[in-house]
Symmetry: C3
Subunit: 352 residues, 3 copies
């Protein structure tokens, strides 16, 4: 059983302690499921009533939230504190280093002695697996790849040849890096394949979700920049450069030869057409369809994508279209009536 | 060669027999491809002409459909009858129980003697595989999982740790259950990962398509409720609860912390934003984008999603926008003409 | 080091040579990254200034592009030439034929002596693997499949039972062919599964991207027609027939029982509802939602999909909706003012 004192946890996150520092905390849970030995948290005031009802022994909360005197750790950013505390109560299992007897490693591959290559994993010719990297079962690393220090490749990840991963990269199950980009030329008879001979480069601290696809470049490199986080089922086309520090939410798609800037947020199911540049810090709404360059810092929504405030008004107006059509028809009738009346008024038989 | 008498098949589905009960049926096929020994079906009257042209020996059909005297089994719900008859003519291969010599099963895992663990499958520490469950080749079951009685995990399915599947769950190839949810906090320098320490619970009779992703909860549980059916390439975010008896069509995405009610239908490529509640029995149209709670029984379409009838009118009106703009401009010109004329009419130089 | 003379390369692509035919070319690269020994290319005149700045030794270019006297190979279709030249400088690794000792091949399967079955691949009962076909590591081929001559199945591809692939088919990592279609009937209590007993047929020269899903037919066949190219994360529903020579871009989805004609282009994230026919040569825009049949040659955009020119005007008009609403309100006020004035004009206390 893991246990920490509340004072120890407050020091860990640099927070202000309210209550008995020796209070023993034995777990961390949500407000609803926390028991008497647990620490929980409240980050938004709409959850304050749930916080009062919670059985938690203590709460992480921003300064000023009224917790009715319950023991607390006060921090400006509760989620930053949570990120630090969760590993205390939910330690990740330690993976033993070494190559599993069922793994298949090419003779010319180099595996760090502190790395783990699990059951049925494959490492191709001339590939390098760095220190404390973990290849989970069924991972396929093709020839000429670099798996960096501290990488975690979850089960069934596929790196085709010449994929280079930086340090502390995490790839979740089923993702495919380095498959051929989608390039053909129609010669009048058939779509002929343009060989895709470039590669994929993933920089430090990138995390890639499950069943994501990142295609190799036609020539040159497809790049996922440092610190970028990619959610599940995302498509990144050939020769595209993303990040650093971008956030790409689930099922978004970026076509080929795009430039997605620093800190860009692409919400779920959004799409970026090929050869588009999205400037640093831009935010693209869910399901938006972007076909033109987006300036730095812009917020875009809708299809075709429109700038934030205007776009919100335009999308809201769609719901009012039937009413608008009715109003226009009514106005047209009133106009016709007026015109007719004025026409009559000046005619010989006018009743006006 | 499998063969059944028409009378026997009528009894199997509880239908009314028309024609010779001893008629021998040797297969089941669509109207177009059925041969003289085959049973076929017609479920909608628009297919009646194809039914008359079919070479099928007999037909499953609702009462009242005029089949020109052909032998028939009359049932109110043809598809329910078909679901019962197909396994007769297309029996699924029996899978022999046992652990394949190439599989890798952790010492502390418990495998039912009636279960099947196929080639290159992995079962992690402390995991349990229930009676008559089938793990196809390359399935990865992480530590501390429960694979329930009668589960079928198709090739390349991945369950990370602490995933619990109920009874009769089917998961198609390449789906990933229990990968980390997409949770980060920006600390001013970088996106820091919030550890995802919850789990995934899948209840009885759920079926999950190919290359689906269901993320584990941050804390607590992501739940796929009893009898829910999920199509291919669907995303289910962390802490979301779906069902029971929901239908989620291909490429739909549900973000984190959603509540998707009983019997909800989410059509293809629809998206639900995080923290949204969709009430029981609501139907969400294809490609709809839902950002607000949806009441029980509602039908929603479009982005942003609008209630059914109104939404249909609004979406249809988009196609009339160019015409509407022209009408508005014309009306504006007529207005200006009228205003000018009245202005002149009351002026000193009026010609009226 | 690979090297070719410029004259030799010009002959290879049937182009017109400008400059010294003995000029030695040692690589092929983009304009930006080409070095002094490299061949590069320019296909659009907006890249001419980059071409002039490039360090490339020679360029592939259309006739008439002013390259300032640099050695060149002139061709009408640069991309066709590139498709021919890339394999010269980036030869694909030769895969040795044979069955890897860790592969698992059923006794009744037949593997051509010139085929390759790699580590941890599985080939099921009665399946056939044709000449020079390559099954990469972790490929799963179920029972009763046909893997055609020259097929390349990349790592982690899954073919369930009864999938038939033609010649020269390429399937990228993680794609799943032949999983069950999404078919249920609600019996008042639960969604009951309709067994999916048909199969998948993929014709010659098809290429399928990564993490794609192509479902087997309920009865009969799902067909990917000759020469069709499918990008990543695409969904093809049961009983649908696509192609020949169609182009299906990433994350597009085609529901069940559709007919997608010859040479159709379906752009990224587009969706086709079930039972829809898309005529030969039609082009469907990105994120479009198609619910009705599309005539041959049509261009459709938007949701619901509208014909090209009209659709473009309609989508552009969405951005003008707020302005349109303002205009309509202003017109309405002017109308009311006119009406009031005319009313007063004819009343007893008229000031007119």
């Amino acid at each position: 059983m893991l246990a920490r004192s509340l004072g120890e946890l407050a020091r860990l996150v640099g927070g202000d302690l309210e209550g008995d520092p020796s209070l023993e905390i034995r777990g961390f849970a949500s407000l609803e499921s926390a028991g008497p030995g647990d620490l929980s948290f409240v980050a938004a005031d709409r959850h304050l009533s749930a916080a009062r009802l919670s059985a938690a022994a203590a709460l992480i909360a921003p300064p000023g939230f009224d917790l009715g005197g319950r023991p607390a750790i006060r921090v400006a950013q509760p989620y930053t504190a949570i990120a630090a505390i969760l590993p205390v109560f939910f330690p990740q299992p330690v993976v033993a280093p070494g190559v599993h007897p069922t793994a298949y490693v090419a003779d010319s591959a180099r595996i760090s002695p502190s790395a783990t290559v699990s059951a049925f994993a494959v490492v191709g010719e001339r590939s390098i697996v760095g220190d404390v990297a973990v290849l989970h079962p069924h991972v396929f690393v093709g020839p000429d790849c670099q798996v960096g220090e501290g990488n975690i490749l979850h089960p069934h990840v596929v790196l085709r040849d010449h994929v280079a991963l930086g340090r502390r990269v995490i790839v979740h199950p089923g993702s495919v890096l380095g498959a051929d980009g989608f390039g053909y030329v129609f010669d009048g008879q058939a779509h002929r394949k343009i060989p895709q001979v470039g590669r994929v480069v993933v920089e430090d601290d990138v995390e890639i979700g499950s069943n994501v696809t990142v295609d190799r470049a036609t020539l040159g490199e497809t790049v996922i920049g440092r610190g970028t986080k990619i959610d599940n089922l995302v498509q990144i086309g050939h020769n595209t450069v993303v990040g650093p520090d971008a956030i790409i939410v689930a099922q978004a798609g970026i076509a080929g030869s795009c430039r997605i800037g620093r800190g860009v947020v692409l919400a779920g199911q959004a799409g970026i057409a090929d050869h588009v540049t999205v400037g640093d810090g831009a935010q693209i709404g869910s399901q938006a369809g972007v076909h033109r360059d987006v300036p730095a810092g812009a917020g875009m929504i809708g299809t075709p994508a429109m700038a934030g405030g205007e776009g919100l008004r335009a999308l809201a107006a769609i719901g009012r279209l039937p009413e608008l059509l009715r109003d226009l028809r009514a106005l047209s009738r009133r106009m016709a009536a007026l015109e007719q009346r004025l026409e009559m008024g000046r005619g010989p038989a006018g009743r006006g």
